[in-house]
């Protein structure tokens, strides 16, 4: 068993895809780098923190991108974002069996603030074009930096999300919320609370991810192989269903007495999950069996 969380982006590509099949576009040797970091005195990377290319997965042609969390937390800058957009546009043109996004990102790279924000929205639009063309987009989330900010939204724009229990998927990081509203709002050092709020088990139980796996590269591979044909077009009916689900969830805690109760456990209970207080202690297999939706 090899920890997915502890792998670099390139190790994930090497281990997850069919051996030796990854062919990279704009590899580090071409030195396509950020034009903005040098003036801040911040080191650049020869790949701007993301590798994109084509590969085989279980013998099928896929396009793939892997974000490197060790470089600026996987933050999306101008070039990083443009590589993702290029990959999506190429998928639209060449029609691979699927697009895989090995996401690990804090979202917009603040060092390139405005350019990063526009870039993330371009990624979102390009991805939605790929989906609309019936090409499934899969996202894998299990890196130490999680999948946050704009990339947390991008992830929810895909057809299929695979998460490990150590993976995190959300919008604002706990540190940002704590800095904004205080430690009573969100204690970012309370690891159990952070994972109950953003972690893989929670996202699985609420249906925010489609597969929950162990922190193991082989498990991620198997889940990706299983989902490769999982195209789920956005239709009006599908969006109405999504709307009803989210509306019901928004009101799930309205009537509950949350005094001295953990809100995650209350939400799981409201979803009909038995033994909600035990979820944190349960194995991935056991949690997988609990889902009600």
């Amino acid at each position: 068993m090899i920890s997915y969380a502890e792998c670099s982006a390139r190790e994930r590509l090497a281990l997850l895809l069919d051996p030796g099949s990854f062919h990279e576009w704009l590899p580090p040797s071409e030195r396509v780098m950020s034009p903005h970091l040098a003036q801040l005195g911040v080191p650049s990377a020869f790949d701007d923190g993301v590798a994109v290319g084509r590969a085989l997965l279980d013998g099928r042609s896929v396009f793939v991108a892997a974000q490197e969390g060790a470089f600026m937390g996987g933050g999306v800058g101008e070039v990083h974002g443009a590589k993702l957009v290029g990959l999506m546009q190429r998928a639209l043109r060449d029609r691979p069996a699927a697009v895989l996004l090995l996401a690990e990102s804090g979202g917009v790279r603040l060092h390139e603030a405005n350019a990063g924000l526009i870039a993330v929205s371009e990624v979102m639009r390009a991805l939605l074009d790929v989906r609309a063309a019936g090409i499934p987009v899969l996202v894998l989330i299990g890196g130490a930096n999680g999948c946050f900010g704009g990339m947390g939204i991008v992830a929810r724009c895909t057809d299929h999300i695979v998460m490990s229990d150590v993976g995190r998927l959300a919008m604002s990081g706990p540190e940002v919320i704590e800095a904004s509203h205080g430690v009573d709002e969100f204690d970012s050092r309370d690891r159990a609370l952070v994972w109950r709020t953003t972690g893989g088990k929670h996202r699985w139980l609420t249906g925010d991810c489609d597969a929950l796996v162990e922190d193991d590269v082989a498990a991620f591979r198997a889940a990706a192989v299983a989902a490769i044909g999982a195209s789920k077009p956005f239709t009006l009916a599908a969006l109405e269903q999504e709307h009803a689900l989210l509306t019901q969830r928004l009101h799930a805690l309205d009537t509950a007495d949350t005094t001295d109760r953990d809100e995650a456990e209350l939400l799981w209970s409201a979803l009909g999950i038995a033994d909600a207080p035990q979820v944190g202690e349960l194995s991935v297999d056991a949690v997988r069996a609990l889902r009600t939706i």
Partner: protein
């Protein structure tokens, strides 16, 4: 600009738009044709509730009024920074709003975004930035994060970021920089009705922002990097 003054200039004093807990909604008549208007005000933070409220109107417009143009009026301090919103999947609610707008566009609705006051990151990315095209009033402000918070997260000195924000379009919050980078198609000045009329008639349905950013010199690499990925052997 106050939203009421804005819509009065655009649609006249009997516009019929209403505000309900920072949420703006209305069906207005413009050049004799109905337009659905959706927005927020008072720099509202966008949490699950406001994301769903906006998505509801978009979906209703798609199902009940095929083809009706949609105008998004943007004034937000960004995403709601609350633990409960994260627990409830604020990123999923925002993606749902974005996907709903995207569906409207694909079904032939013109979707125009207008930043009339302030726009920040999370509240903006699934509204104005996912419209056919986004515009702004000259006095509006668009940014990712306030400089003290940005300094804390990036661990760069606040003075350095403040200095850069005076000169560098990548950091500066002025809307003119977003025009230069292609994120905003143009600023609406003078006759706002003429601006809206032009937008409804000519806003591109394809994403041209990277190309605009290159042509305008504010974002020189994005378009060429996209092209290089497309052309790579």
């Amino acid at each position: 600009m106050q939203w009421n003054s804005l819509v009065t200039q655009l649609f006249g004093p009997y516009h019929g738009m209403r505000e309900d807990e920072d949420f703006l909604q209305g069906e207005v008549i413009f050049d004799g044709e109905p337009v659905a208007v959706i927005g927020t005000t008072n720099h509202a933070p966008i949490g699950v509730r406001l994301a769903l409220a906006q998505a509801r109107v978009v979906l209703d417009t798609v199902s009940q009024h095929p083809g009706r143009p949609i105008l998004l009026l943007i004034d937000t301090q960004g995403q709601q920074l609350r633990r409960r919103d994260e627990l409830l999947g604020i990123n999923r609610a925002m993606a749902h709003l974005g996907a709903s707008i995207d569906l409207a566009r694909r079904r032939g609705h013109r979707v125009i975004g207008l930043v009339y006051d302030q726009a920040l990151s999370g509240g903006f990315i699934t509204s104005g930035l996912i419209a056919d095209a986004c515009y702004a009033l000259p006095d509006a402000e668009i940014r990712v994060m306030r400089i003290p918070a940005m300094a804390r997260v990036t661990k760069l000195p606040e003075e350095k970021l403040t200095a850069l924000s005076q000169s560098n379009p990548v950091f500066a919050p002025g809307v003119q920089n977003y025009v230069a980078m292609g994120g905003v198609r143009s600023l609406w000045k003078g006759d706002l009705q003429a601006c809206l009329r032009e937008a409804l008639a000519h806003a591109p349905t394809e994403d041209q922002r990277a190309r605009d950013g290159a042509e305008r010199g504010g974002r020189r690499l994005a378009a060429s990097v996209v092209q290089r990925v497309l052309d790579a052997a």
